[in-house]
Subunit: 384 residues, 2 copies
């Protein structure tokens, strides 16, 4: 699927409000921002690579538009720019890591490197992390394992936004689960999903584009009604704390809401309850003066230690070919393998640039001015 | 929660068609059945314990009512009653196991024992299994880890019944994921869920009780319509191959159907694509003359190797207390922790007996007659 056609996973609306920027110059600029804020070059590069990867893969909610949060966390001192990331417990293939409140991206990358190293030695490696910060997209770390022909898994807890089944609450985070697996040729398999039906960003897009919110997205915390229809008032209610996101599976157990809730709890268990990080409502904002104390979980599985890689690749390709050959649903655009849309978006954006909303673009400019560094992001095209 | 009140997770309808039987005598009888079929006593006990555990936990679809399938598999020779279960690859903390077409319950138990043993040594153990058979409830194996104060995970692929997102197909199995975690006192945390919204058995119950099927359960393979309303014709369409179950998240990506599909694929990946077992449509029926070649995945995490157990327990209890204290949804019966309903059902059934439908009860009697063994199941009460 290294198709030459252009593909955008995200809806860019309205298109005239976007700017296409060259991704390498964006990464270079973001690196300079964090270096200027006092981080060693190596750490600044890790954060920039993570943010720009999110933009390339079409998850712009976790891309450079979040830069102010991380800057804020560094300025307020909750993000430790020179952390002593250290192993607290080491059982060989399982490790507990203390992030020392360092940037989540730096802590996460270090943790996944350890998981990969242990998987080389023992066939599998798992790393539990406490005292970290928001680490960006979960899939970034799972994909690190793929570069070593391993299966990667990554999960993290996060600030509460989601209703636990049978409650009127905003108790669970959107707690994503990412699993990546290598293929003979790109795109790799990449499942990277919130355990809520959608993240808030999706409702924001629906509000902008005037689309109707379907079932299983949101619930009123005032009377327990499922919220559907016009997106703008739903978004407003969420922002005012009067509504919450629904777990995957929707409002009640009958349609599987307890499964989405349960998956979110598993993420909480592996990210925080084992490691000793803060859980759900105790996780703090990145810009809070107190550290967020977010927890993560990482796993790497060394396929080659168990079966010949070629045999694994062959089975994987057959499975995917079979799926691609199934009869398509008449209302569907295409039959997609997890991660395929993100990969096509990445190929597109590497070629024609990353679309930034002008507000984000101008904000990056302001950051440059505030920090007294040159704004070196190259514009490829005005408009999406 | 070792409540003394009686609780039934399953709807027993109509109640007068059930018989309550004493669980120990049921297990003893089922053991005798499999011993008579030629299995060594130890293996027969494992199968019986697994089937009766499903009945105790309120998952009767996977309980003794399935006994004919396993008997059929043994008689036709696809289930190898004296398997040479052996480790093919051993990387220390990750192991590949060949089940030699043995009974899934025997192979699964052996695999989880290896995962636990490796977790004692390396902090984590993962076991990939090929050439197995249907292994019963996934939660059984996850709970084995809990007895060692470990977190247990278990998944398996299965025969195809579920539509892959954006297709008109019956391609995916209901591929369950089970995660269990210890608590200071029972019930343990136990998430055990199909990656489809519901299993077929749920539609059967709705057909019997005249309840209406809600959204996200089933899809017509003829025109792609979501099937809701009267359960009987939906069940009929599924049985005739004209309808399929929907993945968790429902028909389209908009409500998260790609997430349920993706989770099912992850199960397939870890159970079959790594191990070399048959995947999805290639998995055979237990009673097919050719072995099913089902694949499983198991993981055990040794909590104590990373953090003091008491600290973990304390965090876990605080998390659960917080959830239990959330405002209840006005239409909900209770706020449940994963596994709690199953545990209360187990306590109830250990006390007043396992409810078997008379059809199942009479079938067990016929099995006794056919095999020429005494029917020793003790009836505690006629009616549910």
């Amino acid at each position: 699927m290294s198709s030459q056609r252009l593909y955008e996973k995200e809806e860019l609306y309205p298109p005239e409000e976007y700017v296409r920027v060259e991704h390498k110059s964006l990464k270079e600029f973001v690196t300079n921002v964090f270096e200027k804020l006092g981080l060693r070059r190596e750490y600044a590069e890790v954060i920039a690579d993570n943010l720009v990867a999110a933009d390339l893969l079409g998850i712009s909610s976790h891309g450079v538009q979040r830069i102010r949060r991380y800057i804020g966390g560094i300025k307020v001192g909750s993000i430790n720019i020179n952390p002593n990331i250290r192993i607290i417990s080491d059982a060989g293939a399982a490790v507990l890591l203390d992030g020392d409140n360092g940037p989540g991206q730096v802590v996460g990358k270090k943790a996944m490197e350890i998981a990969i190293e242990r998987a080389k030695k023992y066939g599998v490696g798992v790393v539990f992390v406490k005292r970290s910060h928001h680490y960006g997209i979960a899939g970034y770390y799972a994909l690190m394992a793929v570069e070593h022909n391993m299966i990667g898994m990554s999960m993290t807890n996060s600030r509460p936004l989601v209703s636990y089944t049978n409650t009127l609450s905003k108790y669970l985070g959107t707690n994503p689960i990412a699993v990546a697996a290598p293929r003979k040729n790109p795109p790799p398999f990449l499942f990277d999903a919130a355990t809520s039906t959608v993240p808030v960003g999706k409702i924001e897009i629906y509000a902008k584009t005037g689309k109707k919110v379907p079932h299983s997205w949101a619930v009123s915390l005032e009377d327990g009604r499922e919220l559907t229809g016009d997106a703008a008032p739903i978004l407003d209610a969420i922002k005012k704390g009067k509504a919450a996101l629904l777990p995957l599976g929707g409002l009640f157990e009958e349609t599987g809401g307890h499964k989405g809730s349960g998956l979110a709890l598993i993420v909480e268990l592996l990210s925080a309850i084992v490691s000793g990080a803060a859980w759900t409502v105790h996780v703090r904002n990145t810009t809070d003066p107190q550290p967020a104390n977010i927890g993560h979980f990482f796993m790497a599985i060394n396929i080659e230690a168990l079966v010949p890689l070629e045999e694994y690749f062959e089975r994987m390709e057959k499975l995917i070919q079979e799926i691609k050959s199934l009869p398509k649903h008449p209302q569907a655009d295409n039959i997609w393998i997890p991660g395929e849309k993100a990969w096509l978006t990445k190929e597109t954006r590497e070629k024609i640039g990353i679309p930034l909303h002008q507000r984000v673009f101008n904000d990056l400019k302001s950051v440059a001015e505030e920090l007294g560094i040159p704004f070196t992001v190259k514009v490829l095209k005005w408009g999406a």
